[in-house]
């Protein structure tokens, strides 16, 4: 019997740590475990995945999980992101858990999810209890509960062990623990239908690579400044809003925006490009008149 868990999140949200916490909790329950993160060529704020495998027998599988039994989507903006491909390999035996305030039926209708689906707004819980949107312990708690095989006490020990190892302050670990246990309680006991776990495909196939001309492997980009098509605005958790009536047009926000997302209009007022603003909030903190506010983004899709 093997359970495969896949975590989808954005760099910095804590999915790597979440996969480790689930791994450690499973280890404490005397499972064989494996966990690893996978980052693309991007970083904080960019889509990433992490994996945990737990089994009563030694695990011989390696690498990425293509058909998860539990699929944790910690960032709802990834649902519509083709490059993140969050539903890859989900099947009727998969339990998908989405971090959103929408009900499960809505997510299922919009995205045609296969298998079981559960939703819980763990960002809200993290913001209320921890005070920041770090989702490592909360996401781990949800997954632990969904396995149906990990007890609250193992989760508790795993959270303390993993968060201590990354030098988190004691009071922050306490808060994380509280948030984790809240999530653990919120997820109902699940008794999913038993499915024969499917064999990860292509496990023992050797892929032979065809020779390709080096010019194919070293692509050139001829477009000028087309990164704005990437619309990194969905990285944002808080939206900076300028009160133009009180704005003194000093240009501080424009000068200090690291991502070139603030421009000056004909009236000499700063305007924010919300399609791409990543929500670093440098403008919010640097504004000398304090006329920029921050609004929590609720509806990302």
């Amino acid at each position: 019997m093997i359970k495969r868990v896949r975590f989808h999140g954005r760099g910095g949200q804590g999915m790597k740590t979440a996969s480790r916490i689930v791994g450690t909790a499973s280890f404490l329950e005397e499972f064989f475990v494996q966990d690893c993160p996978l980052y693309g060529a991007e970083r904080r704020g960019a889509p990433m995945v992490a994996f945990t495998r737990l089994s009563k027998e030694p695990i011989f599988e390696r690498g990425i999980i293509t058909s998860p039994d539990i699929n944790m989507i910690a960032d709802e903006t990834l649902l519509g992101d083709k490059s993140a491909n969050v539903f890859q390999g989900t099947w009727e035996g998969t339990i998908t858990i989405v971090n959103t305030h929408y009900p499960a039926s809505h997510v299922r209708n919009v995205y045609g999810v296969v298998g079981e689906i559960v939703t819980l707004d763990i960002t809200e819980i993290a913001l209320n209890v921890i005070g920041e949107s770090v989702l490592s312990s909360t996401a781990a708690a949800v997954v632990c509960k969904l396995t149906g095989m990990i007890t609250e006490s193992s989760l508790e020990k795993a959270v303390i062990k993993e968060l201590s190892s990354i030098n988190l302050k004691k009071e922050l670990i306490e808060k994380n623990l509280q948030a984790a246990l809240t999530c653990f309680d919120r997820i109902p006991e699940t008794h999913p239908h038993y499915f024969e776990p499917i064999k990860e495909d292509k496990m023992d196939e050797i892929v032979k690579l065809e020779y390709a001309d080096p010019r194919i492997g070293t692509p050139s980009v001829y477009a000028k400044g087309n990164t704005r098509l990437k619309k990194t605005g969905n990285w944002r958790l808080f939206r900076p809003v300028i009160d133009h009536e009180k704005c003194s047009r000093c240009r501080t926000c424009f000068v200090y925006c690291p991502h070139s997302c603030i421009s000056i209009d004909e009236g000499d007022y700063p305007q924010i490009d919300y399609e791409n603003c990543k929500g670093c909030l440098t403008c919010f903190y640097e504004c000398p008149k304090k006329v920029i506010s921050k609004d929590h983004e609720v509806r990302a899709w």
Binding site: G12, P219, T227, F254, L281, T282
Partner: protein, 311 residues
């Protein structure tokens, strides 16, 4: 101490034109990106960037490109060599009349502190020695941030990185002092050399403006607060860079043919104030305060400035 005949005196002097589009893969609130964006405003559009491997390689990920100008990617060690090739090619094209001289490009090397201090130091030294006409922009985030924040020789004493974790034997974290790249470069007596900070856009702009008057190597080290690596909130990059200047940790200076001048004399705020803004220094305060380590950091800053304020 303001610069004489400065072109830039206030924020309104800074160009509204952008040369790096939004939507790059760089981290939210990247301090180095802000420094590069501000520098680019002065450099203008006629630029070719030669990018050594590092965080900024991710500015352009196929099929996307944020720049209004050209960009080439090299291995960590060889950006200055790549710059030499491009400079030579441009010169030959102009000489042969195949490129108009008004279409000439500025060759700009873009590297992190790892490439500048460690892996690419030799090729940089050689390029300065040859008098290559280029700009060199080092975004100094004080570690190998692209690969998970491992220690580089620009990592400051007493800070934590993934490969200099505070432990029983070395409770201070990083044992070594930060390499003084400014002085290494200055020993070559290049025409222009400066440190900049994204918190001081006017100072930064004036330095890039002034540098453009010199032919030969023009080198810059930009303090680049790194939210994930230094472990602080993404909104704090500018504030932390400012504190680095105000505490005297990051001296803003320039050297013309080796002669040093400080462009900002700091207010000498307590160094602790800077250290406390970043979790990479958390072990100096928790669970017990490592007074000796903090004193060493203070002493380094004091000794640096005593030397310069006396002369």
């Amino acid at each position: 101490m303001s610069m004489k005949n400065a072109v830039y005196t206030k924020f309104k002097d800074i160009s509204r034109e952008e040369h790096i589009s939004p939507g790059t893969a760089l981290c939210t609130g990247c301090g180095g990106l802000l420094a590069l964006r501000l520098a680019y405003k002065v450099l203008g559009e006629n630029v070719v960037i030669v990018n050594a491997a590092g965080c900024f390689t991710l500015l352009s990920v196929y099929p996307y490109n944020p720049f209004s100008s050209s960009w080439m990617y090299t291995a960590m060690a060889s950006a200055p060599a790549g710059a030499q090739g491009i400079r030579d090619a441009l010169d030959i094209l102009i000489k042969k009349g195949k490129l108009k001289s008004e279409e000439n490009l500025k060759v700009v090397v873009l590297t992190g502190d790892g490439a500048a201090n460690d892996i690419g130091l030799q090729s940089t030294s050689a390029a300065i020695h040859r008098g290559l006409d280029f700009h060199y922009f080092c975004y100094d985030n004080e570690a190998y941030s692209n690969t998970g924040f491992q220690m580089s020789s620009a990592t400051p004493y007493g800070s934590r990185t993934a490969t200099s974790l505070p432990g029983e034997i070395n409770p201070q974290g990083t044992v070594q002092r930060k390499k003084d790249l400014f002085e290494i470069w200055r020993a070559h007596k290049p025409p222009y050399l400066a440190t900049v900070s994204p918190s001081h856009p006017v100072d930064l702009s004036n330095k890039f403006e002034k540098a453009s008057k010199f032919e030969g190597p023009k080198l810059f080290i930009a303090l680049s607060p790194c939210p994930p690596g230094w472990s602080f909130g993404a909104s704090n990059s500018v504030n932390i860079a400012r504190l680095a200047v105000q505490t005297g940790i990051w001296p803003l200076k320039e050297a013309v043919y080796g002669e040093v001048k400080h462009t900002v004399i700091p207010k000498f705020k307590p160094v602790e104030k800077y250290l406390r803004t970043q979790n990479r220094y958390n072990h100096l305060f928790n669970p017990v305060k490592q007074v000796d380590v903090i004193d060493n950091i203070k002493k380094d800053v004091e000794q640096y400035w005593e030397r310069y304020l006396d002369s």
